[in-house]
C-alpha cells in the first residue's frame, strides 16, 4: 500500500494537470492584479519524483530561495509551497512596497509580511478554483515564511510523504513576471490519502 501514486493512469495524471491549470491560472490572475504586471505561466507539470530529486526542480538543494508555506486543511489535506529565488523575491517586494527597482537587498519584517500575504492570496485563489472544480472544501492555514536553502525548505513538505512512501506527487507551475526577471514556483503537494479524494471528486477515482 505504499507508493500508490506510481499506479496513476495517464488519464488521471491529465485530470490532475487540469486541476493544477485551473488553480494556478486563478492564482496568476490574482497576482497580476496586485502587482499590475502581466504574468506568464507555463502549463503545470504533474510529476511523480523520488523524494530526493524534488530540490533539483528549483535549482538544487543549496539554491537560496524564499519559501511561503501553507498547510491545507479540509477534505483533501496537503501542503502548498510558493518558492521564489531570492532575487525574484526582492524584485517582487520592490513592486509590492512601491520601492525603486533593485532597492530591496534583504527582507525586513514588513517585506516578509507582504510576501506572506502574497502566498496567502495565491493559495486562496488556487484553492477557490479547486473548490469550483471539485466541490471539495479546502482551507489554507496562516502562511509561514523562510529564507534559506531550497533543500531545507522542501524538507518540510516532503516529511509527511516520507512516512508513506518514497515518491512525491507534485503539481508545479512556474510563474514569470517582469520579462522573466521574477520567477516563482507554486507547489501543491497533496497528502497521500488526499489524492483519491481529489480524483474521485472529478470522476476519476480508481
Amino acid at each position: 500500500m505504499s507508493d500508490d501514486i506510481l499506479e496513476l493512469t495517464p488519464v488521471q495524471m491529465d485530470a490532475l494537470r487540469e486541476i493544477g491549470n485551473v488553480g494556478a491560472g486563478n492564482s496568476a490572475t490574482a497576482l497580476s492584479q496586485i502587482i499590475n504586471h502581466r504574468i506568464d505561466m507555463n502549463v503545470p507539470k504533474v510529476s511523480i519524483v523520488p523524494l530526493g530529486d524534488v530540490p533539483d526542480m528549483v535549482g538544487g538543494p543549496e539554491a537560496v530561495v524564499v519559501g511561503v508555506f501553507l498547510r491545507v486543511y479540509g477534505s483533501a489535506p496537503g501542503n502548498i509551497l510558493f518558492l521564489l529565488p531570492a532575487k525574484s523575491a526582492f524584485l517582487l517586494v520592490d513592486m509590492l512596497m512601491g520601492k525603486k527597482r533593485g532597492e530591496t537587498k534583504n527582507l525586513d519584517f514588513m517585506d516578509e509580511s507582504a510576501l506572506m500575504e502574497i502566498g496567502n492570496i495565491l493559495a486562496g485563489a488556487y484553492l477557490n478554483a479547486l473548490f469550483n472544480l471539485t466541490k471539495l472544501s479546502l482551507l489554507p492555514s496562516i502562511p509561514a515564511l523562510a529564507v534559506d536553502m531550497a533543500g531545507a525548505i522542501l524538507n518540510v513538505v516532503l516529511i509527511q510523504l516520507g512516512q508513506m512512501g518514497d515518491h512525491a506527487l507534485v503539481i508545479e507551475t512556474q510563474f514569470n513576471a517582469d520579462e522573466g526577471d521574477i520567477k516563482g514556483h507554486f507547489f501543491l503537494v497533496p497528502d497521500p490519502g488526499s489524492l483519491d479524494t481529489i480524483l474521485a471528486a472529478v470522476g476519476m477515482g480508481s
Partner: protein
C-alpha cells in the same frame, strides 16, 4: 583534490581517506557521521524521520534513524572500521517554519535528533559534537582524512564541529 561523495536525502555513503562525504540543504533532516580516526574510514547518513515503525512504508531503511544508523554502522565496519574506535557527529534537525501551534510533524527535527542520540547511546558510540535545532538549513560534510565535520549555513556562516 579529494574525492567528493554526495549523499542525497534518505541515503547514506561510506568511504575512506582522502574522500569527503557531503550532503546538501538539510532542514529537519539529520546528517549523522561515523568515523574511525585510526583506519580513516567513515560514512554519512541523511535521515528524514525518526522511526520506521510509525511509518506505513519502510522500503528505504536509510530514511529513518532507527533503521538507517545500523545500516551505516554495518557498512563502515565492512570497510575496515573498528566499532570500539568509532565516533559520531551530527547536525540538522531544524524547524524551518515557526507556527504558533507546532504539531508533531513540525517538530520532526527535534524528534529526529532525539532518535539518533538514543540509538547511538544504545550502540555505545560516543557523540563527539552536534549542531542541531534552530530554524535554518545546513549543508554538512565530513572529511575522512581528519574527521572534521563542517556545517555550512546561509545565515550563520560555516563552522567546524
Amino acid at each position: 583534490m579529494a574525492e567528493l561523495i554526495k549523499v542525497g536525502m534518505a541515503d547514506y555513503k561510506v568511504g575512506r581517506a582522502p574522500a569527503i562525504i557531503i550532503s546538501y540543504g538539510l532542514g529537519s533532516c539529520i546528517g549523522v557521521s561515523l568515523y574511525d580516526p585510526q583506519a580513516k574510514v567513515g560514512g554519512l547518513l541523511h535521515i528524514m524521520l525518526p522511526d520506521s515503525k510509525q511509518s506505513r512504508s519502510s522500503e528505504n531503511p536509510a530514511k529513518f534513524a532507527d533503521t538507517g544508523v545500523p545500516l551505516l554502522l554495518r557498512d563502515v565496519l565492512k570497510l575496515g572500521a573498528s566499532k570500539s574506535r568509532l565516533v559520531a557527529k551530527m547536525a540538522g534537525g531544524a524547524q524551518m517554519f515557526a507556527f504558533a501551534k507546532a504539531t508533531d510533524i513540525m517538530r520532526v527535527g527535534a524528534r529526529n535528533a532525539e532518535a539518533v542520540k538514543k540509538l547511538l547511546k544504545e550502540l555505545n558510540i560516543p557523540i563527539l559534537a552536534e549542531d542541531t535545532g534552530a530554524n535554518y538549513g545546513r549543508t554538512v560534510q565530513i572529511n575522512l582524512e581528519n574527521g572534521v565535520y563542517t556545517v555550512k549555513t546561509m545565515v550563520k556562516g560555516e563552522k567546524e564541529i
